[in-house]
Amino acid sequence: MRKILIVGATSVIAEATARIWAQRGDHLFIVARNKQRLDAIADDLRVRGCSNVNAYIMDANDFDAHVPMLDAAEKALNGLDTVLIAHGTLSDQPACQQSVDLTMKEFTTNALSTIALLTHIANRFEQQKKGTIAVISSVAGDRGRQSNYVYGSAKAMVTAFTSGLRQRLYQSGVSVVTIKPGFVDTPMTASFKKGLLWASAGSVAKAIDNAMRKQQGIVYAPSFWCIIMLIIKGIPEFLFKRIKL
């Protein structure tokens, strides 16, 4: 029975993962901004068998709220051994290009807030010498592309940060999992036309749960994205710059 904190619990991927855990009997502390949707998720998890689920309202961009939230989580679950960070927004690339403010806000949401949270969590887990921290990054972070490089570079920041964190915390027996989903069919991508490469939130959730149990480092979800990104990353820059990706 694990004691799990989920930040960004109203994300469809996070909700699907929470269901796997609820059915397994884990205890959950779920955090999001929207009370109505979060309470609905908590009710669903309770019906599915979670005997201890706590809903907590917090905006990830409110850095001052991080420590009180972590304290509340540890109190409610009597300790903490697992964290999933799943909040984020899909940046509107053209709009960001016209606005420094919007671009900075996107970086705060998709990178800096995650880094702030991880700073606190890393110290707590390092001290207790056990735990699993999972962070949802993205394949978009593997290489900046013209269609979404604001989002992509934020995720690149998260990927690099968690890579270093993984190395540091390995010495304390704490595992850090960086999850890189490809195209996932969720409300975030509602306006995109779906095709063969698209995965369901449920399948990504299974990949996350698997990777966390096996304490893997970097996980592409679904796994075929590993090959796709290997190819994308392998394209030499003088060619890559000419492509409209």
Partner: protein, 439 residues
């Protein structure tokens, strides 16, 4: 709005629709300017014809309305969002000693779909339709009104929405009364019968003692073999039963063959083999509920076997007086045509009143058959069957239908005019436009 191709279980129509994927029960419906488009909710697409399609319009995908809201394991009252599949409900409730009060032949339908078609099952003669066990539901209309509908609250909207084919608005959540069971096993019996006469006698003798009854009938049987088949009856096993062996195995029909695998030759061969599948006339066995209630769910996408042209299902119900003669006439026409499928089901429906204005079951006997899509030739057969059904005062099931003429729909469902008062002005479906065309 993104576009997507939607199809129904018959795979005859594959139509492009604009899509709005709803994410939870609090979502508002998007605003559309008057007349520019209409909505239709879409659950899991298990309707066979065009009742779940809205050509040229917008589909409201409810797949993500898949949350449970509350479940009381003492009273068996379950509340959940309308996109929850019956299969998910079973996974939750069976280990806790509860079961669906009514279930159709597949568990891969949503609660919303079960309500919109007021589905029925093998226990209709005891428990009536699904709608009878819905305590209340929330209906979201295009003018943003949310109506809580129950027998005592907006009862007219309740009666219109049950069996209302998604036309009265979006059902966001529903509350159902489940029924108690002791274990997941069914004490089942399969009896071979040689004629329709024997079928009706078996019904009479079984309907009192058996909660679940249904028959497979050989639709290719002619003359002496007309109306031969296998009668299945069962009850939930008593609480102290020994468990049977069961491991759930689902396979998927791997691809769509270039032509239908069902044709007049394979049909006769299969039907003969199936009719004789058990050596003894009566066979008793204890089964897990899954193969008893959902024999076809074990093969996902079995509908592919009918090939790229897809198939139609013809499901009719005729009143009990003269029921035997009418069924014999229908089976005779079908056998003479050489068309049909090994999926042919005969069931007696009871007199439990159906709560919906457009509910399909009535006290009588229902016959349901699949037909590979053979275009004009098939439509000629259907017209002859329509004539028999209409003369007998019967009707066809909208959930399965893709072609019934408007006048047959209107004669079969006399409350259709009353129903039109409750249709949401921004909701429509291909089925509805088709059956209302000449009005």
């Amino acid at each position: 709005m993104p576009k997507e191709i939607f199809t129904s279980w018959g795979r005859v129509l594959k139509l492009e629709h604009e899509v709005v994927a709803l994410s939870n029960r609090f979502d508002e419906l998007p605003k559309i300017s008057q007349g520019s488009s209409t909505f239709l909710p879409y659950g899991n697409g298990r309707s066979y014809g065009d009742s779940c399609l809205n050509a040229g319009g917008t589909i409201l995908k409810t797949a993500a309305l898949d949350r449970f809201i509350a479940f009381d394991p003492e009273t068996g009252i379950l509340r959940c969002e309308s996109g929850v599949l019956l299969s998910e409900i079973l996974r939750l409730i069976v280990p806790q000693g509860w079961f669906l009060p009514v279930t159709p032949g597949t568990r891969f339908v949503t609660v919303g779909g079960a309500i919109a078609n007021d589905v029925h099952g093998k226990n209709h003669h005891v428990s009536g339709t699904f709608g009878r066990h819905v305590r209340q539901l929330e209906l979201l209309r295009s003018d943003s009104q949310r109506l809580i509908c129950a027998a005592t609250e907006h009862p007219d909207y309740f009666a219109a929405t049950i069996g209302g084919l998604g036309l009265t608005g979006l059902v966001t959540w529903a509350e159902i009364q489940l029924r108690r069971i002791g274990n997941p096993w069914i004490d089942a019996e399969t009896i071979r019968f040689e004629s329709l006469d024997e079928f009706f006698s078996l019904c009479e003798e079984s309907d009192w003692d058996y909660e679940y009854t249904v028959s497979w009938v050989d639709c290719a049987g002619k003359g002496k073999r007309l109306g031969r088949g296998l009668f299945m009856r069962g009850n939930h096993a008593p609480a102290d039963s020994m468990p049977a062996n069961y491991s759930q195995k689902t396979r998927t029909f791997p691809f769509t063959p270039p032509v239908s695998l069902i044709n007049s030759i394979t049909l006769k061969a299969f039907n003969s083999a199936y009719y004789h599948k058990q050596i003894s006339r009566e066979l008793r066995h204890t089964q897990h509920y899954e193969p008893f209630f959902y024999p076809l769910d074990g093969m996902l996408e079995w509908n592919r076997m009918y090939g790229p042209k897809g198939f139609f299902q013809y499901q009719c119900i005729v009143p009990s007086q003269n029921g035997e003669e009418v069924i014999a006439e229908l089976l005779g026409e079908i056998a003479a045509s050489g068309m049909g499928s090994f999926l042919a089901v005969l069931k007696i429906c009871g007199d439990a009143a159906s709560p919906g204005m457009l509910s399909f079951p009535m006290k009588g006997v229902s016959l349901a058959l699949d037909f590979p899509n053979r275009g004009e030739k098939l439509e000629h057969l259907f017209k002859r069957l329509d004539h028999i059904v209409r003369s007998a005062g019967g009707r066809l099931y909208p959930a399965k239908d893709g072609r019934m003429p408007g006048d047959l729909f209107r004669s079969g469902f006399p409350r259709w005019q009353e129903f039109t008062n409750y249709i949401d002005p921004d909701f429509s479906s291909s089925f509805w436009r088709r059956v209302m065309e000449e009005v």
